[in-house]
């Protein structure tokens, strides 16, 4: 592990000053600063060592929350809601459109707990069970921003606006 990364993690952990229950915040920040928006094994082992939290417990936390990723994510991330309300309002069409427009690696089909990334790591698409915003169905989240009542046309516009867009 590079010294610079260790220093960065040290800084994040220190900013929480040993507050009980701060692991989630620490991990969130570490993932955010990772160029591929994920938590590599060594990073987690180092975080465990520095926080004094057993590695298996850190792993338990990371795998519990779908927010955390153990594999590299694309530059941009779109989460599509596959809850009942969004499904009836056409969220499947949004997913189908993304699948037809990009080439994803290791896409075995289906849409439950989907997590697929393009070969060039430009885009990650994942599905979530429900955002809890059913009144705005269908809902998607793009790079942390929520969009409601999304149609395929609107999705096209959103994709165009993404940094480094190729649409």
């Amino acid at each position: 592990m590079k010294a610079a990364l260790k220093k960065e993690i040290d800084g994040i952990i220190k900013s929480y000053d040993g507050t009980h229950g701060s692991l989630l915040g620490i991990l969130e920040e570490i993932q955010k600063r990772n160029p591929h928006n994920y938590l590599p094994e060594k990073t987690l082992a180092y975080t465990a060592k520095k926080t004094g939290i057993p590695p298996a417990k850190v792993y338990g936390v990371v795998t519990f929350y779908s927010f955390f990723s153990l594999i590299p994510q694309g530059k941009h991330c779109i989460s599509i809601c596959r809850g009942t309300a969004c499904h009836t309002k056409g969220s499947r069409k949004l997913l189908d459109y993304l699948r037809s427009s990009f080439e994803f690696e290791g896409d075995t089909g289906g849409d439950a707990k989907l997590f697929i990334t393009t070969k060039d790591r430009y885009l990650t698409v994942r599905t979530v069970a429900c955002f809890g915003q059913c009144a705005l169905a269908p809902v998607i989240e793009v790079d942390g921003k929520i969009y409601g009542s999304v149609t395929v046309e609107e999705l096209k516009k959103i994709l165009k606006k993404l940094k480094g867009s190729r649409q």
Binding site: A45, Y46, T63
Partner: protein, 593 residues
């Protein structure tokens, strides 16, 4: 401190119970059994299994009794139709994901889930399996196997590993249908913090956690013509083996054990207590030498292989504090294939050494690469033993031994007591108490006192180091030297003591650490259940056995004296060092961070 008493009602009868008790604890102390598969007294109340539900007057839903505290006037009903129906449903839900091939399972007839299903008369399992992910059996550890398919996610193992042992090798990972018990990144147990103690499998209600079996290789050796198979039985076996055959816990059955081993077909039936006595001579001298020569102190015992792995993983800087003495099991293996082979004129390559241990970590210890001193000894004499020769060939647990006794058709309860064979069957009471927490310390003090003063302790019973307190300390005055000692059992307590040593604040000369609560008698290879009550009874058996022995100090063991005369020359001699001592290495689980 007086605890407030509460008046409560259980199934219509009134009881006085203490504030702070859970409904489950209150019912149990009233003699009403509440079935459960996840609660562990004093360790775990995750309330994950849903079997311990009861009805409370005025409550809208059933409650899980393990996590519901009693209150004044509470009315509890443990045996209503609603309760029975819910327990049925919940156990069926657990069974939905559980394999039904009980006959093929090692835990058959000892499985809590199987027994409870039978007790509650659950026959059909009408729910479909919902768990989708499959994980292969983890057989990476030399001591344990993990089978996710059989796991009901009670998390007892997780709690014991964390709360009792502070090892924290495992945790529940992922969630919902994907939840499973996992190490860091789901690595094999052998690549994790796991120290092989097996406390997890003692509490596992199913066959998800099992000890590795070695009975096959033992039978094979016994059946092989021309093979000389010697067996050693650890001190803690005699205090617990009876439980496998219907005896009350706490019945020492030394003679019966020796008779059973002989009937099974072992060529020589020996006693690990012999090398326990030998360990005391070597370790006692090591202690005296470190004090005299200002060596690294405190000296810490090294008999317990789970503890050794714990120290190598978590306290690598303190490895110089560990005694270099091998454990009695390993001293025995080395001597059987060297001194004994020469003395009896037996070809060492024809000798198989089998250990009966209360311990799953002993399986790991016997496989440590450095545990092949006998091969080294013969190589120096120009003789090559077959490749892969180990000092100890097979290690079976108390439970495996019981299986083998049953398989042999031996009626254990009706055996007449016999003696262990000479020379390695001769031992003292000091060797016996190795099986209990504080025992190694007490045995060492008996000998160290005699060594330094030339006379025996007035009272050989050093009660200060006995008991079940997590960390116990004592001082013994020896010729003006106040020897300060401490005893810890259970690795959480060991960690506390080690952190003190780490900070340079340890006031002790000598520390005994045993991996398992209660010491070896509570080891991961012992009969189930191993509750605190059972462990205490086994300890009693160990001390009563000690008091019944004619010799109770290791240095008075005539076979040990002869061994020094004929082979080792003197404690800590060159021969002793190459045969009976070892070294440790740090375990870096996460290199490069």
């Amino acid at each position: 401190m007086t605890q407030k008493q509460l008046r409560i009602k259980i199934n219509g009868d009134t009881y006085l119970m203490y504030e702070g008790q859970s409904v489950l604890e209150a019912c149990r102390s009233a003699g009403i059994n509440i079935p459960n598969l996840c609660y562990l007294e004093g360790v775990s109340r995750r309330a994950s299994c849903g079997i311990c539900v009861v009805e409370i007057e005025g409550a809208r839903t059933l409650v899980r009794s393990c996590v519901t505290p009693i209150r004044e006037g509470i009315e509890i009903f443990t045996n209503t139709g609603r309760v029975r129906k819910a327990r049925h449903t919940n156990i069926k839900l657990l069974l939905a994901n559980h394999p039904r091939n009980c006959l093929e399972c090692d835990k058959n007839r000892q499985c809590e889930l199987q027994k409870l299903s039978d007790d509650l008369d659950v026959r059909d399992t009408s729910y479909p399996k919902i768990r989708k992910k499959h994980y292969d059996i983890d057989a990476s550890s030399p001591s344990l196997t993990r089978d996710h398919e059989k796991c009901i996610l009670c998390a007892r193992c997780v709690e014991v590993c964390s709360q009792v042992q502070s090892v924290d090798a495992i945790e529940i990972a992922e969630r919902g249908m994907e939840a499973h018990v996992s190490t860091f990144f789901n690595k094999g147990l052998d690549a994790s913090e796991c120290v092989n103690c097996g406390q997890c499998l003692l509490v596992c209600p199913t066959g998800a956690l099992m000890a590795k079996h070695e009975t096959g290789s033992v039978w094979k050796a016994i059946d092989e013509p021309g093979r000389h198979v010697v067996v050693q039985a650890a001190p803690a076996i005699r205090a617990a083996i009876g439980e496998e055959f219907g005896f009350e816990a706490g019945m020492p059955l030394t003679g019966t054990l020796a008779a059973a081993l002989r009937k099974m077909g072992f060529d020589r039936v020996f006693d690990t207590q012999f090398t326990a006595d030998l360990t005391i001579i070597e370790e006692g001298n090591e202690l005296i030498s470190r004090i005299k020569n200002k060596g690294v102190l405190p000296l810490i015992t090294s008999c317990s292989p789970g503890w050794i792995r714990f120290a190598e993983t978590f306290f690598p800087k303190l490895l110089p504090n560990l005694s270099t003495c091998k454990s009695p099991q390993q001293m025995f293996g080395t001597l059987a294939k060297t001194y004994y082979a020469e003395k009896m004129n037996i070809d060492p390559s024809k000798i198989t050494v089998v250990s009966v241990m209360p311990c799953t970590a002993k399986k790991f210890e016997a496989r440590r690469p450095e545990m092949n001193s006998a091969a080294e000894y013969w190589r120096n004499k120009g003789r090559r033993l077959p490749g892969g020769t180990r000092d100890v060939d097979s290690v079976i647990t108390t439970r495996e031994l019981a299986d083998m006794i049953r398989e042999s058709g031996i009626d254990f309860a009706r055996l007449t007591g016999e003696k262990f064979d000479e020379p390695f069957g001769i031992s003292t009471g000091a060797g016996t108490i190795f099986g209990a927490t504080g025992g190694v310390m007490e045995a060492a003090l008996r000998t160290a006192y005699a060594e330094l003063t030339g006379k025996s302790l007035k009272d050989l019973n050093l009660k200060a180091v006995r008991g079940m307190g997590g960390v116990r300390e004592a001082s013994v005055d020896i010729n003006g030297l106040t020897l300060k000692v401490a005893v810890a059992h259970g690795l959480k307590n060991a960690r506390e003591v080690m952190e003190q040593v780490s900070k340079g604040k340890s006031p002790y000369h000598f520390i005994e650490i045993m991996t398992c609560p209660g010491g070896c008698i509570g080891g991961g290879g012992q009969p189930v259940p191993a509750t605190t009550d059972v462990r205490e009874k086994r300890i009693k058996a160990v001390y009563s056995e000690d008091e019944s022995m004619p010799l109770r100090e290791s240095h008075k063991n005539p076979a040990v004296i002869a061994l020094y005369d004929e082979f080792l020359k003197e404690p800590l001699s060159g021969v002793s060092h190459s045969m009976l001592h070892t070294e440790y290495s740090r375990r870096d689980l996460y290199p490069g961070i």
